[in-house]
Amino acid sequence: MKRLYKAMLIAGMSLAFSAQNSAAQDDDLHIFGYFQASFLHSIPEDSTVGKKSNTFNVQQLNVFLNKNLSDDFSAFINLEFTNSFSSERNWGSLNLEEAWMKYSANDAFNVKAGMLIPEFNNLNEIKNKTPLLPYIIRPLVYEASIATLVNLENYVPNRAFVQVYGKLPIADAAKFHYAVYAGNSDKLHINGGTGQRGIDTTTYKMIGGRVGLTYDNLKIGVSGTYDREKPAAVFGIVEVPRTRVGADLSYSIAGFTLEGEMIMVRYTLSDAEQHKLDSVGAHPILKYSYAPSLDKTFYYANLAYNITSDLYLYAGYGYMDDKSSRFWETGFKGINVGAGYRPIDEIVLKAQYGRYDGGYERAKYTQNSFYFAASVFF
């Protein structure tokens, strides 16, 4: 009798717990994230600015909080720790990457408001989500470690504050996607050196968007933003209108996935502003560092092959230039080959070889790098 009573009590408790759990599940605060731990072995070759590296690193750790506030509203927060973050040792950084509220009326109309990473080409929104990416070192303008050499915000928008987006069915397997957003002009952010922190007093705003099409395993799109940028102080130009135009494509067939993107950054200069650029480009000393144009270009292509659902190989090529700098003027190129293996769904083990080549006779950068990483989703 005692046994029966015990069994009934346990069964009753289990039922009560599971009922409560399932009823509350969808509205619970959902905490999840990922990190990527990596090892880098880098060898400079004919390089004046590259350096030898042999190091372990927790490249990135992101923690997400997601909660459904109602059927139509949800909130999302993304905290990012980079480069083995330690405030004690003054390593790495902790950033609030995203904090937004979403209103979702239906598939065709959604609004995000707060701080968000806007849709621009295929990779921008997911560039920091390492478990989703086959590579360790991302295509050039999406790779945070290159940010120490060049301002990547010149190529892609990193922040927006409101985005309206959705998709509309065209046929059974085809959909039209759209996104329009607005944010601050990134280079006009106030920084700590001015005595103001956390407040962006810029007058100028960035507007942008993407339209795209998905059909079966094909995804294509074009993106664009318009804002104003403040070029390097040496040019003596306050702010100039900037247009970023991008195009992206990805297609999967028979285990192969091809993805590619291109971005063109163009500036609208008055004759007087162009004259200032020309003067700097012809200056006896400055001409060795600066070139008389602000335009920028980026493109990459990557081909991956899934040997099994858990094992893949890939090869890719990337190019970027910045016509305002002698170092970047003739282009910075990267060739990558690599492989990945998923022992379980939540872990990807990655290996990558990259050869990067850039610079000019005064500052050359040619480097061979070997990367190993584990990307863990939790």
């Binding site: 599940q25 969808d26 997400f64 997601n66 239906n106 598939d107 478990p131 059974d172 769904d345």
Partner: protein, 138 residues
């Protein structure tokens, strides 16, 4: 000897029957759609389509990697392992959560019957009158 043969025949019949069991895609009766194509099911299970045109889609998956599951994902054109990657992408983008996975056909039928906008897939012989069948996979 005859007993052994008979037993083998029964085991073979049972195996064959289970191998060829049909899979039924079921929805809550509040869903107006009467049939769904493989492409539409892929859209729904990829969490790309999230509303029925008025009410939210609630997707249920099954825990076990059994024949029913592999038949369903083969039919929609994306293996279950690939679908998990799609759900991870959706989750990391803050666009949704992976579908709740339930343990048995009976549980899926009950959940779909009691949840407005719900969809699931079960072995066809487990379907009851409480749900609506929108696709049958042979």
């Amino acid at each position: 000897m005859i007993k052994k043969l008979l037993l083998s025949a029964i085991v073979l019949m049972l195996y064959t029957a289970s191998s060829y069991a049909q899979v039924a895609v079921i929805v809550n009766k509040s869903v107006s759609a009467s049939s769904l194509s493989a492409a539409k099911l892929l859209d729904i299970y990829s969490l790309s389509t999230k509303d029925w045109g008025g009410s939210k889609v609630v997707v249920y998956d099954r825990k076990s990697d059994d024949d029913t599951k592999s038949k369903f994902y083969n039919y929609v054109g994306k293996p279950a392992a690939e679908m998990k990657k799609v759900w991870m992408r959706v989750q990391l983008a803050g666009e949704g959560k992976a579908p709740e996975a339930l343990a048995s056909d009976d549980e899926i039928v009950k959940k779909v019957a009691s949840t407005p906008g719900a969809i699931g897939y079960v072995s066809a012989d487990k379907v009851t009158g409480d749900v609506k069948v929108v696709a049958t996979i042979k």
